[in-house]
Amino acid sequence: MTPEQPTGSAAEADPAPAESLIDVQGLTVDFPTGEETVRAVDDLSFRLTAGQALGIVGESGSGKSTVAAALLGLHRGTGARLTGTVRVGGIDVGTASVRELHRLRGGTAAMVFQDPLSSLDPYMAIGDQIAEVHRTHAPHVSRRSARERAVAVLDRVGIPDAARRSRSRPHEFSGGMRQRALIAMALACDPRVLVADEPTTALDVTVQAQILDLLHDLRTETGMGLVLVSHDLGVVAGSVEDMLVMRGGRAVERGPVGTVLSAPQRPYTRELLAAVPRVETRRVPVASTAVPSSASGGDVLLEAVEVRREFGRRKDRTVAVDGVSLTVAQGETLGVVGESGSGKTTLGRMLVRLLEPSGGSVRYGGRELTGIHSDLQMVFQDPVSSLNPRRSIGESVADPLRAAGTLTDAEITRRARELLERVGLDPRWYHRYPHEFSGGQRQRVGIARALAPGPKLVVCDEPVSALDVTTQAQVLDLLAELQRDLGLALVLIAHDLAVVRHASDRVVVMRQGTVVEEGPADTVYDAPQNPYTKALLAAVPVLDPAEAALRRAARRSADSGVLRAAAR
C-alpha cells in the first residue's frame, strides 16, 4: 500500500533524509466500538530527524495521544486497527517482532505520561522501578549497578538526596517530583527520542515551568529528540522547533513553531490561537451599562472576615484557609488564583456556606451567614461528576426550583426551559441525560442550575479547567454575558492566571491558605508586588518562542532565587 503523500507542508516537501528517526506515513487508527468504528487518526504523516523536537497540538479527541501511543506500538493487542506505516529508529512498528518492539520501547523511544502518580507502581520503591526498566534494556547489568544508575538519573533530574529518596514510594513524592522520576526512568534507558504525552497537564504552573526547563536541558545535553503532545499551545511554543496541529484525527497545519504561531494559515489554527487567553493582555471591559463593576463603585454584597478552615484532628490537622478577608461588590468579578493546595476551593465553598468556617465569619448584605442562602450559588469544576447521571438535565436545573417550593410544577418546567435557553442550550433537550452532552454543554447545564434560584452571587470553582480552549472561551463569554444582563457578582476560582485576568475586575492571589496579594486585575498582573505573584507570572508559558527562550534564560539566572523559593 502506498500512503498518500500530503501536500503543502514544509516538513514533508523535501524527500526524507535516510536517518529520519521517526517516519509516520499515512497512519490511520480505527477503534471498533459496539456498532460503529471510531476513526481516531486519519491519514497522518510526519517525520522527525534525530535530535529534533516536534510538538503535536490539538483539543480533546483530536487523536494526538493515539499518535503518541502508536509510535511505541502500544495499540498492539488492543483491538485498534492501524493502517499506514510507523517507523521509529529504523524499525517498522507495525510488523516488528515482540522482541524488537520491546527493545524499541524505552531503548529507542521512551514515553513520559500525563499523570505521574498513577503512572508509577504504587507498591514499589521508585529507584527499584527505574532499575527494573534499566535492566530490561541492559540485561547484563547487575542489580546493584542498575540501582546505582537509578540514583544517578534521579539525581540528574533534580531529585534532592537521590540515594535516599530512591527508596521512597510514589505517594511520598510531590507531583513535580513524580514527573521528574518518570523522566528519570526514560533517561535510564538512553533513548534517542522522548515521547511526552501531556507531561505537565497535571502540574501547577511553576512546577510546569521547571519540568519544561528540565526537558529542554536534557535535550541540549544528550541530543535526544522530543515529541511533545499537548493541548496547551503555550507549553509547546517554548519547547519545540516544529509543530503539528491536529483536529479530528487529521493534520490541520504544520511548520516551524514560530511561523505557525505568528502567522497561522488555516482558519482552525487561527481560531485556536484566538481562543487562548493571554496573561499579558488587558481585559477587554465588558460593556456594563446598568451595574457599576468597579470595586469602589458597587455596594459590598459579600464579605469574608478572617475566615479559617481546618481539616483533620490533632496531629493530622491541616489549615486549608488561614485567616482570609475579602469583599465582593455587587456585579463585580473577583478572581481567586493560586496553585493546588492554596485553599482557593475551600475558600469558595465557605463563601456559599457549603463548608462551615472553623473561624471568622462570612457576611451577606451586612448580616452574618449561618447556612446556605439561595442568593449565593456555586458552579463546580467537573461538569461530569457534578451532575447526577440518572437525572435529565432539565430535572437537574429544576431541582433548586422545586426545593424552593414556591412555584407550581408547570411553572417550574417552564422556568427550567427558559434557563436552558438562557445558557445557550435547546430547551427541547430538557429530557436528555448528561452523558449525551459535551463537556462545555454540561458546564452550561451546571451554570443554568446555579442560576435557577435567581442568585445575586455565583462562585465558579475552576469552571473551565476541564474544557478545551475554544469551549473555555465560549463558557467564559457566557458568564460575562450573564453577569452583564443579570447584574451578578462572580467569584472566579482558577489556577489559570490568564483565564482569571480575562474575566476579573479584581484579583486575589492565594498561597498556602493566605492571601499574598490583592488588587485590581491589571495592577496585580502588570505590576505584581509580591515575589510569589511575580514567580507565578514568570512561569506562565507564552505563545512567542523567542519570548519563551528569554523567560527560560531569566528563570535560569534567578534559579537559586525567587522561583525556587516560591515554588516550594
Binding site: 520501547r105 524505552g106 514515553m111 505520561f113 498513577s118 503512572s119 507498591y123 526498566v133 514510594r169 526512568m185
Partner: protein
C-alpha cells in the same frame, strides 16, 4: 513518619479492641442461653432423674444462681481460675478457665485443646489448596480473558461455588475411596502420632474444603488482577519494553494479591472454630464437631468456650490481615 512505634501502638489498640469484642461476645452468649428452651440440669442429669436429683445437679452446676452471678463467676474463672466441687471431690480449674462441661465434668479448656490440632490441620491444609488453586485459576482466566480457557474456568468456578461442601465431599469420597479405591476411607490420625498417615488421611478433607473455597478465590483473583492490569502504571512498564511475564508477576500480582491475602486470613480465622460440615463428614474430631455436640446438649460452658476461640481467631486473623496489607501496600497506614 512522626510516629516512632506504629507497630506497638497498633498492637495495643487491637488487643484492647479484641478483649472488648470477646467480652461482649461471651455476655451475649450467656444472655442467649437463657432464652433457649431446655433445662441444662435436666439434660445433664438424664431423663430418669427425680426432681430432687435435678435440683441437686442444678446446685452442683451453679445453675441455681442468678444469670448475672453466673456470668461473673465465669469471668472470675477466666482471669483468676476457680474451684469446682463435684460431690465430695474438689477440682481446681486454672487461670484461663472456661468452666466444666455439664455433660462429663471435663474442663472446657482440655476439650478445646484436644480438638484444636485436628481443626488447625484441616484449616491450614485447606488454605494451601485454595490459595494454589484459586490464585492459579484466577490469574490464568484474567490473562486469557475472552478466550475459551476463561469460559471453561468461569463455568468450573461457578460450579465450585454452587456445590455445597457436603455434596462435594461425598462425591470425592465415593469417587476416590469407593469407586477408584485409591485411598482408604479417611480416619483422623494426629500429626504427632504419624505424620505420613496424618497427611494421607487429611488429603480428602483438604481437597474438599480447599476446592470449595478456591472458587471464591479464583473469582477474586481474576477481578483484582484485571483491575490492576487496567491501571496506568502497568501501561508504563509495557511502554518501557518490560516483558508481559514480568509485568504480570512483578507489578500486577503485587497489586492483585493484597485483597486475596486479607480474605484468606479472615477465612482461616473463622475456620479455626471448625469447618463444621467438613469435620462432620470426614469424622475429624475438631472444634466444629465439639461445638455441634455441645449445642445439641445445651452444654453452655463448652459452647461459650468454642465460640470464644473462634472469636479470638477471627480477631487475630483480622489484625494479621491488616499488617500484611500494610506491608504489601505502603500507602496504607495502620491505625
Amino acid at each position: 513518619m512522626t510516629d516512632r512505634f506504629p507497630g506497638v501502638r497498633f498492637a495495643a489498640k487491637r488487643l484492647l479492641g479484641a478483649v472488648l469484642v470477646l467480652l461482649v461476645l461471651s455476655a451475649a452468649l450467656y444472655a442467649l442461653f437463657y432464652l433457649v428452651p431446655g433445662d441444662p440440669a435436666q439434660l445433664a442429669c438424664g431423663e430418669r432423674c427425680s426432681p430432687a436429683q435435678v435440683a441437686q445437679v442444678r446446685g452442683q452446676l451453679g445453675l441455681d444462681e442468678p444469670a448475672f452471678a453466673q456470668y461473673l463467676h465465669f469471668l472470675q474463672g477466666l482471669f483468676a481460675g476457680r474451684d469446682y466441687s463435684a460431690g465430695t471431690s474438689l477440682q481446681h480449674c486454672a487461670a484461663p478457665c472456661l468452666g466444666l462441661s455439664h455433660q462429663n465434668d471435663q474442663q472446657v479448656t482440655t476439650l478445646i485443646l484436644a480438638g484444636l490440632p485436628a481443626t488447625a490441620s484441616l484449616a491450614f491444609g485447606a488454605m494451601v489448596v485454595w490459595l494454589a488453586l484459586g490464585v492459579g485459576t484466577g490469574l490464568l482466566s484474567a490473562l486469557r480473558r475472552g478466550g475459551a480457557t476463561e469460559r471453561v474456568l468461569t463455568v468450573l468456578t461457578l460450579a465450585g461455588t454452587g456445590t455445597p461442601v457436603f455434596i462435594l465431599g461425598l462425591l470425592l469420597l465415593m469417587a476416590v475411596c469407593a469407586y477408584l479405591q485409591w485411598l482408604p476411607f479417611p480416619s483422623y490420625v494426629p500429626l504427632s502420632q504419624d505424620p505420613e498417615q496424618w497427611a494421607w488421611n487429611m488429603l480428602l478433607p483438604w481437597l474438599t474444603l480447599g476446592l470449595f473455597e478456591s472458587a471464591k478465590y479464583a473469582r477474586l483473583t481474576r477481578s483484582s488482577t484485571l483491575e490492576v492490569l487496567a491501571e496506568d502504571h502497568i501501561r508504563t512498564f509495557r511502554a518501557y519494553g518490560v516483558s508481559e511475564r514480568a509485568v504480570v508477576t512483578r507489578h500486577a500480582l503485587r497489586g492483585a494479591l493484597p485483597p486475596v491475602i486479607a480474605l484468606s486470613a479472615l477465612d482461616l480465622g473463622s475456620m479455626m472454630g471448625g469447618a463444621m460440615l467438613t469435620e462432620q463428614l470426614f469424622g475429624i474430631p475438631g472444634l466444629g464437631r465439639l461445638l455441634i455436640e455441645s449445642v445439641r446438649s445445651v452444654d453452655l460452658p463448652v459452647v461459650v468456650g468454642v465460640v470464644l476461640v473462634i472469636g479470638t481467631a477471627v480477631v487475630l486473623a483480622n489484625a494479621l490481615a491488616d499488617v500484611l496489607y500494610a506491608l504489601a501496600d505502603r500507602r496504607v497506614v495502620l491505625s
